[in-house]
């Protein structure tokens, strides 16, 4: 507080009594004032006060007087709904970056109140401390003489959180009134793989669901599964009308990899009328959804039904057609494809980097293991199985091993349960089925004899300070080594894209994690007309995130091709 300013413009933050008074005092003396208030209304706490009166004025009237003067003063510009994001002060100037949420009511408003009568929504009245209800149109009229309206039209928490922003509230509402067909249509607007996601999505939407604050969140994912099954049943009963592209173009687009990202790009572009061909290396479509995720979580007929839908749009899927050093992206352009999307996933398991690795038989990376099983090899791989890692693929490997008849399956994880990246309900199910989980332990050395794995030396760990991932860093406890027996060890500690198919002079920018570097807003690689997305950009992630990338890539490919 000082008296040294001779400024001619001033920012006042806060529309409470102090802010209003500061703004008005400055404006009266000829300073241009911008008044920034985070809430939709001026007056602040004082507006709520009834008993704090002074002389003849209840606090409320006092605030109203100030608010009216502030609103009418030509030197004061009022920015309600505005939040200060950044502030910088240099060379005697203050610079502020702010975000203004839309009030959605313009100056034409005559305070007639018609909207208040028709609005069907009744949220708690925050001004009255939740003691009564108001409408989605917040109205500060009876409190102040100014009369300010503000329409609260936010995206619901679940929709906001969903990577592809499905209008969850709408489809859940449709299900509640039995309108399943419309519900699935709402989902399909944003998600081309509803049956798949209805089963294996980690559903971040549920973690932010407001109902969760009351008791438990709405089972959004299970509801999605329910309507997608309804669609499949309709299809089987022959009542299903296959989707039709909006128009028919002759432009060809190539998609490399029939995983969730590739399928989404194909779906979106086919809808726009492009002729899309997917080149898939494996003998089956679906990518990780087929090769990684076990059948007990995602039955294959369900997966195929979602893929069938995309094929019905005219998408051609060429199986057993990998890109190689001989058949490159450039060859695709030579075949008259105008744009290419690369979604080859992340299939290369990371090494444990302990002695004995790769020396013995009975040591199998989780991706290799799951791929083998998912392609039909259901032989029992061993008796005592140890899975190393704490992610979803570790849990999948363990539960799969159990189903193959392995006697004892143990998961070894170097942190504690709290830090485990796997979905907690999957961990629970695994334990329920008999998988043992050994927390705070890490491998030190692989043991073997006669060329076969016999066991492993492990060390106990303790947790130290937070590391870059925001989890506590595991530290080995010295002298705590112990031995475990095993005839199959499955490391499941993370994957990287396998880009060995690229020719030496591929010209792509590749990150140090062996992934494609793209512009996140467009998914464009550094090479013209070539886009990438999904696990080969992000490293191992979820189906829904791959779909998100697919959407972004598809819309930028469309824009690129219409140029």
């Amino acid at each position: 507080m000082t008296n040294s300013i001779t400024s001619r413009s001033l920012i006042v933050v806060g529309g409470g009594i102090a802010g209003l008074e500061a703004a008005i005092e400055a404006a009266r003396s000829g300073i241009d004032v911008t008044l920034v208030e985070e809430s939709p209304f001026l007056g602040g706490l004082l507006l709520k006060e009834e008993t704090i009166s002074s002389g003849d004025y209840p606090a409320l009237c006092l605030a109203s007087r100030l608010i009216n003067e502030v609103l009418e003063h030509p030197r004061i510009k009022v920015l309600t709904n505005t939040r200060i994001e950044k502030v910088r002060s240099a060379d005697g100037k203050v610079r502020v970056a702010a975000k203004r949420l839309p009030p959605r009511v313009g100056i034409e408003c005559t305070s007639c109140g018609a909207c208040l009568l028709v609005c069907p929504i009744k949220p708690y009245d925050t001004f009255n401390e939740g003691l009564m209800l108001r409408t989605a149109i917040d109205f500060a009229g009876p409190r102040t003489f100014g009369g300010i309206y503000n329409i609260e039209k936010e995206i619901p928490a679940c929709q906001e959180r969903c990577p592809v922003h499905i209008d969850i509230r709408r489809y859940v509402g449709l299900i509640a009134s039995g309108r399943y067909e419309e519900a699935i249509r709402v989902i399909r607007e944003r998600n081309p793989l509803p049956a798949v996601c209805g089963r294996i999505c980690p559903h971040p939407c549920e973690s932010v669901c407001n109902r969760g604050r009351q008791d438990e969140p709405v089972a959004i994912d299970a509801l999605k599964r329910f309507v997608s099954e309804y669609e499949i049943a309709q299809r089987r009963a022959g009542k299903f009308v296959p989707p039709k592209p909006k128009r028919n173009l002759r432009v060809k687009v190539a998609v490399v990899g029939a995983g969730p990202a590739g399928l989404t790009v194909a779906h979106d572009l086919a809808m726009e009328g492009f002729r899309v061909t997917i080149f898939e290396a494996a003998p089956v479509p679906g990518g990780m959804m087929h090769l990684g995720i076990p059948e007990y979580r995602l039955p294959r007929d369900i997966l195929m039904s979602d893929i069938e839908y995309i094929k019905e749009l005219g998408v051609e899927i060429k199986l057993n057609s990998p890109l190689t050093k001989e058949f490159t992206v450039d060859d695709l352009f030579k075949q008259d494809y105008k744009a290419v999307f690369v979604g080859v996933g992340a299939y290369k398991g990371l090494k444990l980097r302990v002695p004995g690795e790769d020396e013995y038989e009975g040591f199998l990376d989780c991706i290799e293991f799951l791929k083998r099983v998912n392609l039909g090899d259901k032989t029992k791989p061993g008796n005592k199985v140890i899975v190393i890692g704490g992610g979803n693929s570790a849990i999948d490997s363990a539960r799969t091993a159990l189903r193959l008849g392995c006697d004892e399956v143990t998961i070894l994880y170097r942190r504690s349960r709290k830090e485990m990246p796997a979905n907690p309900w999957e961990v629970e199910a695994a334990e329920h089925e008999g998988v043992k989980i050994h927390y705070l332990a890490a491998p030190v050395k692989i043991l073997g004899s006669n060329g076969k794995v016999t066991g492993m030396v492990c060390t106990k760990m303790k947790l130290g300070k937070l590391d870059a991932s925001g989890r506590r860093r595991p530290i080995p406890i010295e002298g705590s080594e112990f031995e475990v027996e095993a005839d199959l060890i499955i490391p499941a500690i993370s994957q990287q894209p396998d880009l060995s198919f690229l020719p030496d002079d591929h010209g792509f920018e590749i990150s140090r994690w062996n992934s494609f570097v793209v512009d996140e807003r467009t998914m464009a690689t550094n090479r013209e007309g070539i886009y990438a997305g999904g696990d080969d950009v992000t490293g191992p992630a979820t189906v829904i995130e791959a779909i998100q990338a697919g959407h972004i890539a598809a819309s930028s490919i469309k824009e690129y091709l219409s140029r």
Binding site: I17, A22, L60, R88, I121, L131, V218, Y296
Partner: protein
Amino acid sequence: MKKPKFIPEFQDIPTQRQKMPELPVEERRLNFKEVELGFTEEMALKEAARCLSCRRCIGCGLCLAECDPGAVVYDQQTESISIEADGLIYTSDGKTYNPDLDLTLGYATCSDVITSYEFERLISPTGPFGGYLLRPSDGEIPRSIAFVQCVGSRNEAIGADFCSTTCCRRSLLQAKRAHQRDDVKVTVFHKGLRPIGKDSELLLAELEASDWIEFVEAEVHEITENGKGSVKVTFGRDKSQAEFDLVVLAVGVRADRDFRRFARAAGRDLNRFGFVQNSLKDLLDDVGAIRFAGAVCGPVTAHTAVIQAKAVSSSGFSDVARPEPRSLTGDKVLVYGCRYGLKLGGVSEKVLEQLGSNGFEQRGTYSYLCHKEGREALSAGIAHASHIVILGCHSGKYETFFEDLLNLERGSVTLISAQDLNGDIARTIKQAMESARLEPAVRRKPPAVCIVGSGMAGLAASRMLLRNGITVHLVEGDSEIGIGFKRIALAEGVEAETVDEYIRSVKDDENAKIHVNSRIKCLKKGNQGYVISLDSDGGQWDIECGAVLIATGSGRYIPEEFGYGTNPNIMTQDEFADRMSTNGINAKRVLMVQCVGARDDQHRYCSRFCCRQVLENALRYKEVVEDAQITIVHKGLRLFGFEEILLGEAIERGVELIQVKAKPRIYGENPLKVALESTEGNVELEADVIVLSAAHAHGEMHKDLATSLGVEIDDLGFINTSPDPLEPFDTSVEGVLACGLARQPMTAEEAFVEGLAAAGTICRRLMTRCEDEAD
């Protein structure tokens, strides 16, 4: 969770989340059958009905369809804004403590436990029940209400060892209001009441004498629902219980969480509670483009917040910074239309086209001429304009507004209200221009200001006015200015150099007229406003001024009780501090007596500074004489805001506190003996030294001044100022203002801030008056 109260519950709330049917574990071996089996239709319908739809806009668009004026901008998007300015003032109302955090308070579980802000809404005519006081649980009128003080304040365990300052007074007012409304019985559970404000002692006395209110000094352990539609409060050491219809939690103040982020970016240190803590030292040398007011500077009342806001914002008056106004030298009369104004007046935008050439040049319409876009258009045309005509909303004052905006001489702009635009537009404009003043008025220098007193408030005000180029007559009764200022500033730890520099900057200013050894004799109306006759060193002077600011501060009470003056070991707090500084004291047993000359029958107000002073002195003495036994005898400490921290420190250092019901009795000599009637029983103590915390006192000082200036004084002996919080310094005589200790007891920092704020008010008024006269 915001608890639903007296609102129909969501009908589907009791429904549990549907459990996903699963394949039995024993069937999962040696096959890959799907584990999760999916919902049946019945389950899906039940589950989907659980969605609350978030009670938010569902995007139905009814409001858009219904809005006749077309004001709804349905798809308006979030906007990024960047603003640049010469300064920034960050203010906040603060946040309140969330009582959900403490389950023993029952807020989360009982509907009839509410916060003080919820109570404000309950009792408000614009609130949910139209001003009727009804219980949230069942809508019955409560017969008994309990107020629980210090919820989330004065509690070190939750990291909030500060006093929230406003809650005690608020609860007392709320209790009074509730009783007036519905004749309820009230119980106030408190940890020592600390109502703030000049009149709070009277308010408290009034309530204490009433039979419908009971004050219980006890800790509240638990608040629970009683099942019979009442709330049970467990309190006190013996875990007594009482039942109430409604319990109001006086929730404390918290710093804005966002503010931490802002402060970090602005490079401002905060105290450990997240507030800006301004010591006097900070106030004296704080310069910078970013400044703070309101509840970011700690818990404050609305009154204080307004004064702080005035102090920080009232600094831009400086006419020095405003360049000389220019005159228009072009050859065209430019005509602008303001769309907003035209719309208000019901005039079509095409009105400008009717003008034709007619000697005018029409420059188009803008949605708001007074806003940025319009201003730019106006300044673009200045070069070849001989006059500017604006067709807009109001006339009159806005002409000067636009002239100031463009920095033009008076008379350069003519503003015509759209309502007056009928008939021949060109003729209307010509008439308006002809009837407008022809001679451009000259802005005059504002008149001088007379400031009475050169203490904290007086000096702060003088310096501020001088900086704005206003002549100040500083009237001081002593032989030198700034004596009080210096004493207090040094005691507050400000460096002597800074203090001297501050005083010198006032003394040496060419516009400062210092009148020492002077007394005001009378006030008369004069040319510039007032003529004041001064009695100065035996001679008489007349000074002309436009405004008078009373900043006399106050003197110290000279105790007549407790044997003061009869024994050298009985001294006042100031004398004690002096002797500490000169190492002239080495007593082991020190007894300090609070409220000497305050909060008694003759002085019915709290003197505000003494509780802080006694703790500061006690802690300082503990540094000097480590094994000293210090006992503070008080009638309930009145510590506000962060002063509470001192109390914690004092208790930690072994200072003993005894609360008494009546005045202590002092007898005996060497050692002195004291008989106390404490709240816990009678005590007798011996002491080597007794220190009396003498309060502020005015004696006849204000009475004389008030008579000569003609202003009213109140029953407590302070200058009576306006109860309107927005103009807190106005006295009963127009043009005479009072600030600082002259109008109510306060701390040195508060007085300093009031000085700035009052000077700002005067400055603005004189400037606008000058312009009015010039018109």
